[in-house]
Symmetry: C2
Subunit: 425 residues, 2 copies
């Protein structure tokens, strides 16, 4: 049974010294303290609870105003649609490989891929309706990251079952085609269910998807933009999170992605439901979404790299904590220590991915290391002070995938990725 | 005459191709376009308009709540005072050398050092009252960064001329001792004048300091914290910026550092005065200060690394832009392009340091390079997407100080710095 001895390890109840982790079949089988001879600082690998891998190809190409002189989330979305319409399955695999390698180098050891680019450019399903999902699974296998596939159900352009737009044709399914897609995804990797949003799925569709999910992870975009809140109010008389909590069996297997615009009552309802708040701090800042009241939220939460404009677990935590500090004018808002901040995100992320979380018996043997002698200071510096990702070595399910900050495929993947971006963006 | 040819260069009016910069005596003597054979992308070096170099030693040591369970700017300040009371002149030089090297690697080619740690630990002046300033100048010379010394005048613990606190004894001067200190600083490096804040200098003292400054840079902390705004209102009946604009000859040589809490009228007054808003986005987020209305501000502004919790010009610009996006729920808030964002900060920073700014004839031959073919995208990626500082090569006044991201003294300086932090923090 392979085992690892660390000078310091962040277990769910805090820092421990001289910790031995024994691994069996990719899972932590035993944890012992008081075992000397170890080096370094071990943290649980961070689950990335929300990614659109292909958007990595857009990074840096949308940070300028459009011809109108104005800009918003919605003009960003237009660019994203242009890219989405031109991506081949090969391109998808190249972009996802690049994104997943960067995730590992940035401390993410598992990813929930919220995957909505299903069909051929003309909108017809590929011969295998799961072609694109298979490319994502191949990229995850090549990079060595643990994958949760979240095939997205997208059927409408707005509340009230509006017909989809032509530029959404690669995303669109009926419930029937979605069931086939879901089956093909499940043949590739652990698979959840993902109604895109309350805009894109009608109430009866949402009910059917909830039934399909059963106890599996169910993720949904919600309340990211004020325009969406207003449209939901106009259509239902309720705000999105309030509507969802009233009309769906939201529970511990749900992840409400963004949930940026919530009232205190909605936040309390989310916490009571047991669902995970899926926070994407860097993307939410990049898109100008607004600030989720995370420091006042008593429920589970985790972090996602979403648009992948910049991929680093430490910087997601930094942006989250800083947005709370700026909004509330205090310090150390999310937790008393960096260990508390990190463990909360690791636990919520694992819950959202349907994994046993943290460095605990029965959890995936996925962990990352930091250099340093004082573990709390090293982690605080990794989150708040590092000029580059501070993660040194990374293991996923007992297999080392990053050594001294470098993934062995990084250079080759980057060359293919740059070539693809030059062709498409 | 040494010259440099770049494929792309960011001049004050935007991107130009095939640009030759000719350098004479450390200054740009001539700029020509249409000169083939160049490579890379050149940007003006970014001036860092506000630094407390020694605080680099605290980075990562204050990101946890105090024993009371609460935390704020003011508990952070207690930690800073503890460090300040224990630092020797040698320690100051070690910390500043580390900070200045990181500045160069992060794209800052000049720094305004807001220097308040003047005296021996018992509060008595050193035999040379400028001993600590000389250490800062030695560190700047070793690192190769252009320095503006801003010896800080600090005489009181609060509005109304309150007696200083015992833990402030190393900062304290009378106008008479400050004049001697200023003279010693000016013997080391270009020197401005820096009343610490409206708390620390009485109105007559501020008047005397303004006279001493003449046309030289005059920097002052202002309106960083709401508690400070309230204390100023209680004492003067006016908010800090309003009071300052009414009672001091604020003009183009002034830099109002932070100015976080301003009314629209105060912001308009600042802009009309010609002063530079000295924004320190990462530190202001770290300390939970709040958000300056930068996107609505029509005046000059620049960026400072302040507490040096993390030193990187690109990330200061990112944090600034993201704070505006979060507060205002839009994108590309500060400028239409990354070039516009960068040039605004470079111009405002140069003004604050009393330098000719940008890549222009007569300015310091201080520039940095990025890799890439499309300059606008490369710069946007340097600001928004880079996992580590994107700056490759750095020249200060015509002399190369960083090659391929590395300063030649980085390793040796870091070893001395780590040893010092282990001793003191």
């Amino acid at each position: 049974m392979p085992n690892f001895i660390f000078r310091h390890a962040l277990l769910p109840d805090g820092w421990h010294e001289n910790v031995r982790l024994s691994v069996e079949g990719g899972v932590i089988a035993r944890i012992e303290a008081g075992v000397p001879g170890g080096a370094g600082i071990a943290l649980p690998g961070m689950p990335n609870l929300h990614s659109h891998a292909f958007q990595r190809a857009m990074a840096g190409h949308a940070e300028r105003r459009g011809p109108s002189g104005r800009d918003s989330f919605w003009t960003w979305r237009e660019l994203m649609y242009r890219l989405a319409l031109n991506l081949s399955p090969e391109d998808m695999e190249i972009a996802a490989t690049q994104a997943f390698i960067e995730m590992l180098e940035g401390g993410f050891t598992a990813v929930a891929e919220f995957h909505y680019l299903h069909h051929a450019p003309d909108g017809a399903p590929y011969a295998d309706i799961g072609e694109m999902a298979a490319r994502l699974a191949a990229a995850a296998a090549a990079a060595g990251i643990e994958l949760l596939l979240l095939p997205v159900f997208y059927a409408h352009a707005g509340f009230g079952g509006a017909a989809p737009l032509p530029e959404q044709r690669r995303f669109i399914n009926t419930l029937e085609s979605y069931a086939r897609l879901h089956e093909r995804c499940a043949a590739q990797a652990p698979t959840g269910v993902a109604p895109h949003s309350l805009r894109a799925a009608t109430p009866p569709e949402l009910e059917a998807l909830t039934a399909l999910a059963g106890a599996r992870p169910l993720h949904i975009h919600i309340a990211e933009q004020t325009a969406e809140v207003e449209a939901c109010l106009a259509w239902t008389g309720q705000r999105p999170v309030a509507w969802l909590l009233d009309h769906a069996p939201v529970g511990r297997n749900w992840c409400l992605v963004h949930a940026t615009h919530v009232t205190p009552e909605e936040a309390a309802g989310m916490a009571a439901s047991g669902a995970v708040a899926g926070l994407c701090p860097i993307t939410e800042a990049n898109l100008g979404d607004g600030i989720f009241p995370a420091a006042q939220f008593s429920g589970a939460w985790g972090i996602g790299s979403d648009s992948n404009v910049l991929i680093d677990a430490g910087r997601e935590l930094q942006m989250l904590e800083y947005s709370q500090r700026l909004a509330r004018r205090g310090r150390n808002m999310m937790a008393a220590t960096a260990a508390g901040l990190y463990n909360a995100a690791a636990a919520g992320g694992a819950q959202a991915l349907g994994l046993a979380g943290g460095l605990a018996v029965g959890a995936s043997a996925s962990f990352v290391t930091l250099a340093g002698d004082d573990p709390e200071t090293a982690l605080a510096q990794a989150v708040f002070c590092a000029r580059a990702p501070a993660v040194r070595d990374v293991w996923v399910r007992g297999r080392q995938v990053v050594a001294d900050g470098w993934h062995p495929l990084a250079s080759a993947a980057r060359a293919r990725f740059d070539d693809m971006v030059n062709r498409l963006v």
